[in-house]
C-alpha cells in the first residue's frame, strides 16, 4: 500500500511539478523570447545570478519572487469569498486534467516482454504491468479530461463576476460563451477518434496509434483523422483563452478582462493557468493525434523495418521506454511552441467572429467528420 502511495506521489511530482510546471513557466520565458525573435528584438536577458544569465531564464525567477511579495488586493465592493476562490478554480482543474495523460507506455516489471510478430504489440508475459508514466490508469481517461477541463470555465467567469467591475464582467461573460462553444466542437471531433480506436482509455488509444497503415504509415490520429486534428487543435487553443482567442482578456478593449482586479499571486495564478492549459492542449493533442509516446517503427525491442517487419536495430527495453517518454515531451514542446508562434502572428478575433467560427464553421465540420468517419468504418467492416 505504502509503495503505491509513494509511487503515485513520485508520479505526481514527476509529471505535474517537473514536466507541466516547468514547461508552463518555461513557456512564459519562451513567450517573451520567441516574440523577441520574431520581432527582431533581444528579449529579456539582464536578470542574473552572479555571472549566470541563462538567456533571460532568470527573469522567471524574478517574476515569481516579485509576485509573491506584491500586495494582494481585493476590492471592497467585490464578493470576497468568490473573489478569493476564483483563481484556484481556474488553476486546479487545469492541473487535475494531467492525471490521466500517458507520458509513456506501461512498464513490465520483473517479467518477460513478448512482442507479437504481427501487431508488434508488447505483452507482459510474467510479472506485473505498471503505469509509471501516468498518474492514474483510469480506463475512462478521455471522459475524465473533459469533465475536468469544463470545470475551468468556472474560475474565470466567477472571477469576472466577483470582481464587481464592468470590464471584468464583460470578460467573464465572454469566457463562458467562448469555452462552452468550443467544448462542443472538441467533444464532437473526438467522437470520430473514439470510433476508430474503440477505446476511451488514453493509453490504449496511443497503443493503437503504433499500428501501421498499409504496412508503413503510422496510424497516428493526424493521419486517419486529419480534419478532426485541425478542428480539435483550434478548439483547444480557443479553450486556453490565449491569443488569437484571447477575447475574454482583450487587452486593448477590456484592459485585462476577467482578471482586471486581481493582483499578485492571484493574477499570477490566472496567467499561469493559461500557460498550464496550453501545455495540457499540447499534451492532449500529442496523445490523441500525434501518436503520444510512439516513435514510428520503434517497438519494445527496437526499431523494425516497416516493410519487412523484421527487427532492424535492437535496443534495450529501458532505453526504448526512455526514448518514448522523450518523444512525448518533444512533441508536446513542439506544440507549445506552435501555440506561441500563432500567438505572435495572428490578430485577435472579435466576439461574434469567434462565435461564428465555433458554431457555424467548426461545429458543422466536426459533425461532417463524424458522419464520414462512421460511414467509412461501416463500409470497411
Amino acid at each position: 500500500m505504502l509503495e503505491i502511495v509513494l509511487i503515485t506521489l513520485a508520479k505526481i511530482v514527476g509529471i505535474i511539478l517537473v514536466f507541466v510546471m516547468v514547461v508552463a513557466t518555461l513557456m512564459t520565458w519562451a513567450d517573451r523570447k520567441q516574440s523577441a525573435l520574431i520581432q527582431d528584438r533581444v528579449g529579456p536577458n539582464r536578470a542574473n545570478l552572479g555571472p549566470i544569465r541563462a538567456a533571460g531564464l532568470i527573469h522567471i525567477l524574478a517574476d515569481a519572487l516579485k509576485t509573491l511579495f506584491k500586495e494582494d488586493f481585493a476590492p471592497r465592493a467585490a464578493n470576497q469569498g468568490l473573489f478569493r476562490i476564483a483563481p484556484f478554480l481556474a488553476f486546479v482543474p487545469a492541473l487535475l486534467a494531467f492525471a490521466v495523460i500517458p507520458v509513456g507506455d506501461t512498464w513490465c516489471v520483473g517479467g518477460q516482454v513478448s512482442v507479437d510478430p504481427n501487431t508488434l504489440v508488447e505483452t507482459c508475459v510474467s510479472g506485473e504491468t505498471r503505469d509509471y508514466f501516468r498518474i492514474s490508469a483510469l480506463n475512462v481517461g478521455l471522459l475524465y479530461v473533459f469533465a475536468i477541463v469544463s470545470l475551468g470555465v468556472y474560475g474565470s467567469s466567477i472571477g469576472g463576476w466577483a470582481s464587481n467591475n464592468k470590464f471584468s464582467l464583460i470578460g467573464g461573460v465572454r469566457v463562458s460563451a467562448q469555452m462552452l462553444s468550443y467544448e462542443v466542437t472538441m467533444g464532437l471531433t473526438l467522437l470520430g477518434l473514439l470510433m476508430v480506436y474503440q477505446s476511451i482509455d488514453l493509453n490504449d488509444m496511443v497503443r493503437e496509434q503504433g499500428e501501421l497503415l498499409f504496412g508503413f504509415i503510422p496510424k497516428w490520429g493526424i493521419v486517419i483523422q486529419p480534419l478532426a486534428c485541425v478542428l480539435f487543435f483550434t478548439a483547444a487553443v480557443a479553450e486556453t483563452k490565449r491569443p488569437p482567442f484571447d477575447i475574454p482578456e482583450a487587452e486593448s478593449e477590456l484592459a485585462a478582462g476577467y482578471f482586471v482586479e486581481y493582483s499578485a499571486m492571484k493574477f499570477a495564478l490566472f496567467t499561469l493557468s493559461e500557460y498550464v492549459a496550453s501545455v495540457l492542449v499540447a499534451m492532449l493533442v500529442t496523445t490523441l493525434f500525434l501518436g503520444g509516446w510512439q516513435i514510428p517503427y520503434l517497438y519494445s525491442d527496437g526499431f523494425h523495418n516497416p516493410f519487412t517487419g523484421e527487427l532492424a536495430w535492437s535496443l534495450p527495453y529501458t532505453l526504448v521506454k526512455i526514448l518514448q517518454v522523450g518523444a512525448f515531451c518533444a512533441k508536446a514542446i513542439f506544440l507549445c511552441w506552435l501555440q506561441l508562434a500563432l500567438r505572435w502572428t495572428l490578430p485577435r478575433f472579435r466576439y461574434d467572429q469567434l462565435m461564428r467560427l465555433g458554431w457555424k464553421v467548426m461545429l458543422p465540420l466536426s459533425l461532417a467528420n463524424l458522419v464520414v468517419t462512421a460511414i467509412v468504418i461501416l463500409w470497411l467492416n
Binding site: 516574440s35 520574431i38 520581432q39 527582431d40 528584438r41 464592468k166 470590464f167 464583460i170 491569443p243 488569437p244 484571447d246 477575447i247 482583450a250 487587452e251 486593448s252 478593449e253 477590456l254 484592459a255 505572435w344 502572428t345 495572428l346 490578430p347 485577435r348 478575433f349 472579435r350 466576439y351 461574434d352 467572429q353 462565435m355 461564428r356
Partner: protein, 406 residues
C-alpha cells in the same frame, strides 16, 4: 455587424420583456485603446454599443494661449507637438501661414526640401497609425515592424534636423539648415528598408481573414456624412471624398510632382487602412521626384528682417548681432492682417488662421485640427457596432491627442 445578437433593450433604455437593462461603461481616459486622452461613456446592450458619448480635452495644453505669448518663431516648437506623429507637416503648415501673412515666397530648393521632409514625416505618420491600429487588434508583431520602419525615418530626419521627433526644422522664410550632402544616398537605404518592412507587414495581415473580417464593414462613414462632419485627409478619402490639398490646391511645388490620390468607396476601417498604405507609397514616389528635380541653391529668403544671420556674422559683425538680437528679442515683425493657410497634414487639412496686429507675436494663432472633426463624428462610427470594433475604428481615424485637444 452582428447577426447573432437580438436587440433586447428598447431604444430609450428601458428593459424589455426579458428584463434586461443596458449597461453603461466608461472607457478611458486611461485605457489602452483611448490613447490616454479620450473618455467614452458607452451604453452597451451586451456586446453592442448603443450609444457612445465621446469626451475630449484631457490633453488640452493651451496651444493658442501659449502661442499668443511667444514670438512668431517660438511658435514652431508648439506646432511640433500638435500632431506629434508628423511634426514636419505642421512646421511647414505654420511657416507657410506666416509667410503668406508677410507676403514672401521661399526659394525653390527650400520648397523641395520642405516637400521631402513633410512626405517622410507623412510616411512615419501613416506607419504609426497603421501599426498602432494593428497592435490594438492584437497583431503586435506587425506593429513592431511598422515602428522599426518609422525608427529608420526618425534616424534619417534626426541627421537633418537634430531631433528624433520634435524637429522644429522649418523657419519663417526658409529652413534651419539645408539637407546634409549625403542625404539622398542615406535616404535610398532607408527607403529600401521601409519598403521591405512594409512588405513584411502586408505579408502578415494582407490576406489574414481575422484582420479582414475585423476591418471590413466596421466603423463605416458614408461620403455625405463625412462631408457634413467636415472630414478631410485619409479618413475623408476613404469615404470617397477625393480631396487632397496637395492636389486640389497645390502648395509648395506639388503641382510639379506626379502622384495619385487614393480614394476609398465604403469608408470603413479597411478602406482607411488601404488609403493610408497607398498614400505611404505615393509619398515615397513624391520624394523620388523631388530628388530628381531638386537643384542646389539657397534655402532661405534673402531678407535680414526675417531670416537669422549665420553664426559667424552674429559674432563677427555688428549688423549681424543687431539683426540676431532683434529677431530673438522682438520677433519677426509681421504686418497686420489675417490669413488662413491650409496644407495637407498627416490627418487632413491642417489650417492655420493667423491674426497679426503688427507685432513680433501672433495676436491669434488658431490651428484647424483635422482630428477634431473625426472625434466629433466618431460616435456615429461606433454606435451599432461592437465593443471590439471601437478599437480598430478608433485606431484608424488616427486621433492624435496633441492635435485634437491642442
Amino acid at each position: 455587424m452582428s447577426e447573432i445578437f437580438i436587440e433586447t433593450v428598447r431604444d430609450d433604455g428601458t428593459p424589455d420583456d426579458l428584463g434586461s437593462v443596458p449597461m453603461s461603461l466608461q472607457m478611458g481616459p486611461s485605457h489602452p485603446a483611448m490613447h490616454g486622452t479620450i473618455k467614452m461613456r458607452l451604453r452597451l446592450d451586451g456586446e453592442i454599443v448603443q450609444k457612445a458619448d465621446v469626451e475630449v480635452g484631457y490633453l488640452h495644453r493651451g496651444f493658442e494661449k501659449s502661442c499668443e505669448n511667444s514670438t512668431w518663431t517660438q511658435v514652431f516648437p508648439y506646432t511640433d507637438r500638435l500632431n506629434y506623429v508628423s511634426p514636419l507637416c505642421n512646421n511647414v503648415g505654420y511657416a507657410m501661414a506666416v509667410e503668406k501673412l508677410i507676403g514672401i515666397d521661399v526659394p525653390e530648393r527650400c520648397k523641395y526640401v520642405r516637400m521631402i521632409m513633410s512626405e517622410t514625416s507623412r510616411v512615419g505618420d501613416h506607419l504609426t497609425c497603421v501599426g498602432a491600429s494593428l497592435m490594438e487588434l492584437g497583431a503586435f508583431t506587425a506593429f513592431l515592424y511598422a515602428i522599426e520602419a518609422r525608427e529608420e525615418i526618425w534616424r534619417l530626419t534626426e541627421e537633418v534636423t537634430g531631433a528624433r521627433l520634435t524637429h522644429t526644422y522649418v523657419r519663417v522664410g526658409g529652413l534651419k539648415d539645408d539637407l546634409p550632402p549625403d542625404f539622398e544616398a542615406k535616404y535610398r537605404k532607408v527607403e529600401k528598408k521601409i519598403r521591405s518592412l512594409v512588405d513584411d507587414i502586408l505579408l502578415l495581415v494582407d490576406r489574414n481573414r481575422i484582420f479582414l473580417d475585423r476591418m471590413k464593414d466596421t466603423g463605416v462613414m458614408t461620403r455625405e456624412r463625412a462631408i457634413d462632419w467636415g472630414f478631410t485627409g485619409p479618413c475623408a478619402r476613404a469615404s470617397g471624398v477625393a480631396y487632397d490639398v496637395r492636389k486640389s490646391h497645390p502648395y509648395l511645388l506639388y503641382d510639379r510632382t506626379d502622384f495619385d490620390v487614393p480614394v476609398g468607396t465604403t469608408g470603413d476601417n479597411y478602406d482607411r487602412y488601404l488609403v493610408r498604405m497607398e498614400e505611404l507609397k505615393q509619398s515615397l514616389r513624391i520624394i523620388d521626384q523631388c530628388f530628381k528635380q531638386m537643384k542646389p541653391g539657397p534655402v532661405n529668403v534673402d531678407d535680414p528682417r526675417i531670416v537669422m544671420p549665420d553664426r559667424d556674422e552674429v559674432y563677427g559683425s555688428i549688423e549681424g548681432t543687431i539683426q540676431h538680437f532683434k529677431i530673438i528679442m522682438e520677433g519677426i515683425q509681421v504686418p497686420p492682417g489675417e490669413v488662413y493657410s491650409y496644407t495637407e497634414g498627416g490627418n487632413g487639412e491642417l489650417g492655420f488662421y493667423l491674426v497679426s496686429v503688427g507685432e513680433g507675436k501672433p495676436y491669434k494663432c488658431r490651428v484647424r485640427p483635422p482630428c477634431w472633426n473625426f472625434m466629433q463624428a466618431v460616435h456615429e462610427m461606433l454606435e451599432g457596432y461592437q465593443i471590439a470594433d471601437i478599437v480598430p475604428t478608433f485606431g484608424s481615424v488616427n486621433m492624435i491627442g496633441g492635435e485634437c485637444d491642442r
